[in-house]
């Protein structure tokens, strides 16, 4: 076996695509294009360099590279070494990145010239003292992070590492096996009918599980992965032109982005005949806007995908043709091979409202925190009579028609106020339907008897008008104590409404919670 033969199923997808159709476009960004043969050969070259630099199977490697073709090479090369690839955000504050690196016990950073200075800073903050990025191949280098000679972490099977921000503390690592990611990628390719003639548009940050569809779904089907240049991401008009000029056929993004394309990007008046798969996840899609989308893209397939980072996608709903807002949108049923149940407070399976529990091949191996492996599942007695480890999502759901699951909000979004149990998302879904409202978030601060704050991004509406609308559509106990109108709501690096920022920020400041 050659030293650059595939290590596991994920990097084998690339090797196999390079074998089957070497001259097809594998990944493109702006003017740059790599065929599958070229991508595979660059991966081999870098993997050889990484090994020579001391990378061993089981090592955890931060991919500290802006999203680009280089980042693809770095991820695959880390996998090819049998390492765990951990994409990191080069724009994140180095302090935060350093904490993540320590939490996940990263042994190396792979980085670029442009990010080298902040990579070195990350190393310094982790108490490793100064170090230099060593160039390995054109554009990419390596920087050791952990103490030299540290033992390779247990479970040297390699895989993927994503971070999830807990409600408190620093982001912890979610360790995914090759098999976890592969199961999801296979399901998407089967369900979407992806083939080598598809062009998968990739906008999600590499730190976000949405991007695992882009990367591995395209490799599995031999499709072309089209990366949205980072500089365009904040410009809805540019994103729409990019979808058109690159003839994107499959696109997976958060609803907030789709909404921006609808309200500011001109997507309703742009012809996008190639776009046939429109998938979304990460937060509820405001029904009015989704209805407009379904009307605009009459022949496209819309997919509502559901699942936290710990399970990736575990349920899906294909939005029916001609769907309208009053139909309500479920998160559907479990994807093939995965078991999803609703459980009560005692973790018993229920047919009533309950917490969504997930078991099966997409459930991650565990968390990495303080360098230690931590379980993320609990043993649950499932409806088939067997007891299995399942991940409790913290999301509440109930069964509707045909056994489809509807979300009821978060366990931790349920608050007790003046004796009433209130789900903050119930408030949000009402406000979201006001025609002037582009986005909203209901935030509960329990201190001092509690305050219910409503943050609203809206056009041409006054606080007084909003209050009137609220009073006529919500019971009194659900009316906010305060309303904050803004041009836009702050977003997380994943493009979702940043609830933590809203919760922790002073009311007059929309950002500023992040320590820099």
């Amino acid at each position: 076996m050659s030293r650059t033969d595939p290590w596991g199923p994920l990097d084998a997808l690339l090797a196999s695509a390079a074998h089957r159709h070497p001259d097809r476009a594998a990944v493109t960004e702006g003017q740059q294009l790599l065929t599958y043969r070229e991508l595979e050969s660059r991966v081999r070259e870098l993997a050889t360099g990484l090994r020579a630099a001391g990378m061993r199977p089981g090592d955890r490697v931060g991919v500290y590279v802006p999203k680009s073709t280089d980042a693809m090479v770095a991820i695959y090369a880390a996998l090819r070494c049998g390492a765990v690839a951990a994409p990191l955000d080069v724009k994140g504050p180095p302090e935060r990145t350093a904490r993540m690196a320590v939490n996940a016990a990263l042994g190396f950073l792979v980085t670029t010239d442009r990010a080298a200075a902040s990579a070195t800073r990350v190393r310094e903050i982790t108490d490793q003292g100064p170090g230099e990025v060593r160039r390995l191949v054109s554009g990419l280098g390596i920087l050791p992070l952990g103490p030299s000679g540290a033992p390779v972490p247990q479970g040297g099977d390699g895989g993927y590492l994503l971070f999830t921000s807990g409600s408190t503390g620093w982001p912890k690592g979610v360790l995914l096996s090759h098999g976890n990611v592969l199961h999801f990628a296979r399901w998407t390719v089967d369900q979407f009918g992806l083939t080598s003639s598809d062009r998968v548009g990739s906008q999600a940050s590499l730190t976000f599980d949405l991007s695992t569809f882009d990367i591995f779904g395209s490799a599995l089907s031999g499709a072309c992965l089209v990366l949205l240049p980072e500089s365009l991401k904040a410009f809805p008009q540019d994103v729409v032109s990019w979808l058109r000029t690159h003839r994107i056929s499959a696109f997976y993004a958060v609803p907030t982005l789709y909404q921006a394309l609808l309200h500011h990007g001109g997507i309703s008046t742009t012809r996008l005949p190639d776009l046939r798969i429109i998938a979304f996840a990460g937060e509820p899609f405001p029904a009015g806007d989704l209805e407009r989308y379904v009307g605009i893209f009459e022949t496209a397939e819309f997919y509502n995908l559901y699942g936290p980072t710990e399970t990736n996608v575990c349920t899906f709903e294909r939005v029916p043709r001609g769907w309208s807002a009053q139909d309500g949108l479920s998160i559907g049923k479990e994807i093939a091979g995965v078991q999803v149940e609703l459980v009560d407070d005692q973790r018993r399976v229920t047919s009533d409202e309950g917490e969504i529990a997930v078991s099966g091949p997409t459930v991650a191996l565990g968390y990495l925190q303080d360098g230690q492996h931590r379980e993320l599942t609990s043993l649950i007695h499932l409806s088939d009579g067997r007891t299995r480890p399942a991940y409790l999502t913290g999301d509440l759901g109930y069964y509707g028609d045909e056994g489809k699951i509807y979300l009821r909000g978060r366990r931790d979004h349920q608050i007790k106020r003046r004796g009433y149990r209130i789900d903050l998302q119930d408030i949000e879904s009402v406000v979201q339907e006001f025609s002037s409202v582009r986005g909203c978030a209901a935030i509960w601060t329990p201190e001092g008897g509690g305050e219910l704050r409503l943050h609203v991004a809206a056009d041409s509406v006054t606080e007084g008008q909003l209050r009137e609308q609220l009073a006529s559509s919500l019971p009194r106990h659900m009316l906010p104590d305060r309303i904050h109108l803004a041009e836009r709501l702050p977003l997380t690096e994943r493009g979702k409404v940043d609830r933590e920022a809203l919760a922790s920020a002073e009311p007059t400041r929309e950002r500023g919670h992040e320590k820099r």
Partner: protein, 91 residues
């Protein structure tokens, strides 16, 4: 606001508000997009503040990356929008 330098101080102001302190000084040729200096929220704020100060309406079709690459590029776009609105007014 009369020139690109004044636009730079306005952009600087907005970036400082968002991130708490300024690591980088914004000059007319500072690349705004590559360094990740501005995100979508910052861009919205810049547009709103420019509209307010100059009294123009900056059309959505002009909120594109090409016009936000550097303060100079944005200033050129503002001048073009101003020119267009003047000639419209003259008609």
């Amino acid at each position: 606001m009369k020139n690109a330098d004044e636009l730079c101080s306005l952009i600087q102001e907005i970036i400082d508000e968002a991130s708490g302190h300024a690591d980088e000084k914004v000059d007319p040729s500072t690349p705004l997009l590559i360094s990740g200096l501005v995100d979508s929220l910052t861009i919205m704020r810049i547009v709103a503040r420019v509209e307010q100060r100059i009294g123009i309406s900056f059309p959505e079709t002009e909120v594109v990356a090409a016009n936000f690459r550097t303060p100079t590029a944005l200033w050129d776009a503002i001048e073009a929008v101003k020119g267009a609105s003047h000639s419209e007014g003259a008609v």
